[in-house]
């Protein structure tokens, strides 16, 4: 036998202790996905039954996973934040907060999808499997405390999303979206991986905790080119996933082409998971090197705000408009990231907390807005030009009112969660002394208001060439799933706008990062 191999085999390998309660949420979702696949294999002759069983299983899985997340919260409260699995997994407030948002977004994503899949003739259990697997990756992402694990999580949820984007095989746009997302996603993953390699080269570790320790020791002025190049490439990889300008170009095409419930899920959950990694890596592990990366994030934030709002203003397609507005929202969250580590005594609301709160609100707004758009679409993803929304208030008063709420929330109107979210971001920027960023954000919000109000006016304005029979068009009968999902999102947005403090406190508690 090869002597080297012999030596390896004879060494007592230190096996990591399996901390089941911590990975239980991940396992629950993963097992559910596997169960659905098995059901499909076993009950081959009864596809209808399988589909119904898998819907039930998906909800059971999501609820179970949610319960385990709650348990994790309890554990943190009892024993504080810690790491496990040899430091690869972090258990802190953000882990729980991000998992909660991802699970809510997934559950709402499933609810929204049911009616859509029926309408488009896509009722297969695979959709649920992919959605659950993607969510699994995101939950891992929330835990990941090691760059390698971050990468694995990123790939797990991305690969499932590539397929979901192309899920409507008969529609060329959907195929195109999937392919584009895949090619560019692979490209950015490669860059991200290279960034990991460079960072490893510079610090000698992929563990975020150890990198943080390393950076604490090194004089910040003596950072090597290797390290800063690593930062740059990691920013690119994550910037792609959160669709920050200038790495945003895939977003409108993919959001437009994908089936709308997939877009809703992509816009909400994906962004949350990717920002979780962004925050944990940069605001957490690279906190000591913040002088290096903060200017880059500054530029990314301003560019995203600029590109997102200006391009949204000239769109003629509602899905594309919302895609650009999601780029602008990424800009606001990046402001929070930019000021995450600004040390200041007045800093009552850290940028991290503001970002997390914004993510929560944004996920709900995006799900709600895309949910309404999906209900207004006709079979085969037509009817989402802005001109198709003319007089919507007469034809579909309820949907028009809901969309108005979600758009006003995105514009940041008081008494919606969007207002408090924007206010928190600006407040953290002002507290950190970043007045220019705060002003840039406010200006973008003004242009953004035009973007959203334009659609609202289109829905409500009456003009000369109005169709007099508009009011008699049959009302769209919402399916139960969409009805539940839209009720939840709409009421949550109002609750977050009127009684935000409890949630802000939780977001605040969630910012005690392990790596800090």
């Amino acid at each position: 036998m090869n002597p080297v191999l012999f030596a390896v085999l004879n060494t007592e390998l230190e096996k990591p202790r399996i901390d089941w309660p911590i990975i239980a949420p991940v396992v629950a979702l993963f097992v559910t996905a596997l169960v659905i696949v098995l059901l499909r294999a076993i009950l081959r002759t009864q596809p209808k039954l399988v589909y119904q069983l898998s819907i039930a299983a998906a909800f059971v899985g999501l609820v179970t996973s949610g319960a385990f997340v709650g348990n994790e919260w309890r554990i943190i409260h009892r024993s504080g934040i810690f790491q496990t699995f040899s430091g690869a997994i972090a258990v802190d407030g953000m882990t729980v907060f991000v998992q909660a948002i991802v699970l809510i977004a997934t559950a709402l994503g499933v609810l929204l999808a049911l009616g859509y899949l029926r309408r488009e003739g896509l009722e297969t259990p695979e959709y649920l499997v992919l959605l659950l697997l993607s969510a699994t990756g995101m939950l891992v992402m929330a835990h990941a405390n090691d760059l390698v694990l971050v990468f694995v999580a990123l790939e797990v949820f991305s690969i499932a999303l590539y397929i979901l984007a192309a899920f409507d095989r008969r529609r060329a746009e959907s195929q195109e979206a999937g392919l584009k997302y895949f090619v560019l996603g692979a490209f950015s993953s490669a860059i991200f991986l290279y960034g990991i390699a460079l960072t490893y080269g510079a610090t000698g570790s992929t563990s975020l905790t150890e990198i943080a320790t390393q950076l604490g020791v090194v004089d910040p002025k003596a950072h090597t080119g290797l390290l800063v190049a690593g930062f740059a490439l990691l920013i690119v990889g994550l910037g792609f996933k959160v669709s920050a300008a200038p790495f945003h170009m895939w977003t409108p095409d993919v959001y437009e082409g994908s089936p709308t419930p997939v877009t809703a899920f992509m816009a909400s959950a994906t962004k949350v998971a990717a920002f979780a990694a962004f925050l944990r890596i940069f605001a957490g592990a690279f906190a000591q090197a913040s002088d290096d990366w903060r200017p880059a994030i500054y530029v990314l934030a301003v560019l995203s705000l600029l590109v997102g709002t200006i391009a949204a203003a000239i769109q003629s397609d509602v899905k594309r408009m919302l895609a650009y507005s999601s780029i602008a929202h990424a800009g606001y969250i990046l402001i929070g990231l930019q000021v995450a580590n600004a040390g200041s005594k007045r800093n009552e609301l850290p940028g991290t907390a503001a970002s997390l709160f914004y993510l929560l609100v944004y996920a709900l707004m995006a799900l709600g807005a895309f949910g309404v758009v999906q209900s207004i679409n006709h079979r085969g993803e037509t009817n989402h030009a802005i001109t198709d929304y003319k007089q919507l208030s007469k034809r579909q008063p309820l949907l028009a009112a809901l969309l108005t709420l979600f758009l006003l929330a995105q514009a940041g109107v008081p008494f919606t969660g969007g207002f408090i979210a924007k206010l928190s971001i600006f407040r953290s920027a002002v507290d950190a002394g970043q007045y220019q960023l705060a002003i840039a954000g406010m200006l973008a919000a003004v242009i953004g208001a035009f973007v959203y109000l334009r659609l609202v006016v289109t829905m409500y304005a009456t003009g000369q060439d109005d169709d007099p029979d508009a009011a008699n068009e049959p009302r769209i009968k919402l399916d139960v799933g969409s009805r539940i999902a839209l009720t939840i999102t709409a009421s949550a947005i109002i609750v977050l706008g009127v009684l935000p403090n409890w949630f802000l406190d939780i977001a605040h508690q969630a910012t005690q990062l392990l790596t800090r």
């Binding site: 090597t224 080119g225 190049a229 930062f231 002002v430």
Partner: protein, 664 residues
């Protein structure tokens, strides 16, 4: 009992809930029920307000400023917190009592008045929403809470003025009200910004009395006071921001009664009283202060509007100008520091003006939507209850003792007279003149509508049959209104008789109930010493005499109604002045002419000469840049994966290039 002080939030919450229910399910609930639900919510609020009043009355000293924070809405930077807080003190309790009380009556009245309207339930939803906003306005514990209610009532006012938006004039009037109010709102906002920048808070408790303001210069405080007053002028329609109120009569009559006479338009008076510390502390020099401006704006409005009212022929427009004039009295009182007198008049005015408006609504209803007084006359025979109550309202506003209006107007005039110096006497003289005119134009209205010759036959005959009214009395004669409409008239009539007893000008025994009650809210306001009893008595007698002269002139001119040729005698007697008054001093027309004439010319000059090249160029440049940037982005968005990948690579290159500059 004391629990009611903490449960004060229920008062605005009830009508808000009603608004939501009626808005969502109104169509399903159906016609009369939606109205009754709305009435029930505001009625319950009234009962709740009464309990709150007793709860507050059982408190003493500091307990009479009860702040209850429902929750902290959000925190700003620094120490700035925005609380959903309510301030229960004598002032706010007085306000909620009359807002909910009169609100209930007018809701009930609307059940009958809006009968058969296609948007019946929508109307009640707006009305309830208005009540909720108005209650937030008066109960707010900070300027910001008040401002929220302020914007809410503004929105409801807009929605309700243009409620019959199919009529172009109504839609235009709604817009006019909204835009004019915006001007005032800017003043209010700037005032708040200034207050916040100097004091770091907007909570009313911080500004209890003028001693609290020491440390900030008198000039700054004057600026704060005047900015707030600009807000008050917008909402309370004082010259020159009065132009929206007469047009607001395009709204349904209950709206005119509730919003544009009794409650919303008095928000400005409330704001000035709430912020009295700023007015007390302000000083411009030579004894002139912010209050002087308030008093004179009020006096000019009182007199100007009263002169215009004598030449109006629309039954509601007379009352609209009368409302302007009476609001002017209230500001006159606040300006000389007699806040209690102003608030007293606000309450009594709410009683009799709501009565008059509802009475006019009853007339309009009975006359099948005729509003021209020249086509009325002798209506008391057909509408006995409306006629009798309208006459009570007329006696109240004309200042005949012992009706409500006499006591409050008399107090304002007396306080103005004794407020000192020649200025006080001048304000008193203006007030007296306005009182004379008030008595005259109201007498004119009463005789043109309820007495004299019957002039409605022709018009009703043509008009009837296509106004959608299918009542039993189809002869074309006017008819009395249903019980839901007459009951509020009776209640308000009773209140207009006894309302004055809230505060009687006697100190032994002390019968100034309202003044004593409001004292904790108006702490530090200057005391105006009344003169000797005899001089006060003489002033009162003078006021009564003036009122009676006005009535006598009106009676002699109009005792037979209009002459057969239908020409108003006033028109011939006043000569060229008549036209000026009929057109309200050409203020509106002048404004429109100015805006479309010289102002446009000046603007064109600016535009051609200066703007075109520099500013316009810059603005166009920005616009062009945005568009070009957009087009550029569009061009970049080719849809080709290779180009997108290239974009990412470019981003990578830039980031790396930047990062390398940071590395050693």
């Amino acid at each position: 009992m004391q629990r009611f002080l903490d449960l004060v939030w229920v008062i605005p919450a009830l009508p808000a809930l009603g608004a939501v229910i009626v808005l969502l399910f109104g169509k399903r609930i159906g016609e009369p029920k939606a109205g009754y639900i709305a009435t029930a919510t505001i009625g319950t609020s009234f009962v709740w307000s009464v309990f709150t009043f007793f709860a507050l009355q059982s408190q003493h000293g500091e307990g009479r400023h009860h702040v209850y924070n429902l929750w902290k809405w959000f925190a700003g930077t620094g120490d700035f917190h925005v609380n959903f807080g309510f301030l229960v003190d004598p002032l706010s309790v007085t306000m909620i009592l009359f807002v909910t009380g009169i609100g209930t009556l007018i809701h009930l009245y609307s059940v009958g008045y809006m009968h058969g309207d296609p948007r019946y339930s929508r109307f009640f939803a707006y009305l309830n929403l208005f009540a909720a906003s108005m209650l937030v306005l008066v109960l707010g514990s900070s300027f910001l809470m008040t401002f929220m209610g302020w914007e809410g009532v503004g929105l409801c006012s807009y929605l309700l003025i243009s409620f019959w938006f199919e009529k172009n004039s109504a839609a235009v009037a709604g817009k006019k009200a909204f835009v004019t109010n915006r001007v005032g709102d800017f003043g209010f906002m700037l005032g708040m910004f200034l207050i916040f920048s100097k004091f770091g808070t907007l909570d009313y408790v911080r500004f209890g009395s003028h001693e609290a303001l020491t440390g900030v210069s008198h000039t700054t405080v004057t600026a704060m006071a005047l900015l707030l007053f600009v807000g008050a002028m917008g909402k309370s329609a004082q010259v020159p921001l009065h132009i929206w109120l007469p047009d607001a009569m395009e709204g349904p009559t209950p709206v005119s009664a509730l919003i544009h006479a009794a409650t919303m338009v008095t928000a400005g008076v409330f704001l000035v009283s709430r912020a009295h510390a700023f007015f007390d502390f302000s000083a411009i020099g030579n004894g002139i202060h912010a209050g002087t401006v308030v008093a004179w704006v009020g006096a000019i409005t009182a007199l100007g509007a009263a002169t215009v009212a004598i030449r109006q022929n629309d039954i509601k427009r007379v009352l609209a100008y009368s409302t302007l004039s009476q609001l002017g009295y209230m500001f006159l009182a606040c300006g000389v520091g007699a806040y209690t007198a102003g608030l007293f008049h606000m309450v009594t005015h709410a009683f009799f003006k709501a009565l008059l408006f509802l009475g006019s609504g009853s007339v309009i209803h009975g006359m099948h939507h005729e509003q021209d007084m020249r086509k009325m006359g002798g209506l008391r025979k057909f509408m006995p209850i409306t006629g009798a109550t309208f006459i009570i309202g007329w006696l109240a506003i004309a200042g005949v003792p012992p009706f409500a209006g006499f006591w409050s107007k008399d107090e304002i005039l007396a306080k103005a007279f004794f407020s000192g110096g020649a200025q006080g006497k001048a304000l008193w003289a203006v007030g007296m003149l306005a009182a004379l005119l008030t008595a005259f134009y109201m007498t004119r209205q009463v005789w043109m509508v309820f007495f004299g010759n019957e002039r409605f036959r022709d018009s009703l005959a043509d008009d009837h049959g296509h106004d959608g009214h299918d009542d039993a009395n189809a002869q074309g004669d006017p008819h009395e209104s249903p019980i839901t409409m007459t009951l509020p008239l009776l209640v308000l009539g009773a209140l207009s008789i006894v309302g004055g007893f809230l505060s009687l000008p006697f100190t032994k025994p002390n019968l100034e109930f309202l003044a004593r009650w409001l004292e904790p809210s108006l702490e530090g306001a200057k005391d105006i010493h009344p003169g000797a009893f005899t001089s006060g008595f003489l002033l009162s007698v003078g006021a009564v005499v003036v009122g009676i002269i006005g009535i006598a002139i009106g009676f002699t001119v109009y005792k037979r109604g209009l002459p057969d040729d239908g020409v108003d005698p006033v028109e011939t007697k006043l000569g060229p002045l008549a036209n000026v008054l009929e057109n309200a001093y050409f203020f509106d027309i002048g404004l429109a002419k100015f805006v479309s004439g010289p102002a446009t010319k000046f603007a064109t000059f600016l535009a051609e000469g200066i703007d075109r090249k520099t500013i316009d160029g810059a603005v166009n440049g920005v616009g062009r840049t945005v568009k070009e940037a957009g087009d550029g982005l569009r061009r970049m968005q080719t849809g080709l994966v290779r180009n997108y990948a290239l974009g990412i690579v470019a981003g990578v290159a830039m980031l790396i290039a930047y990062m390398w500059t940071r590395a050693i």
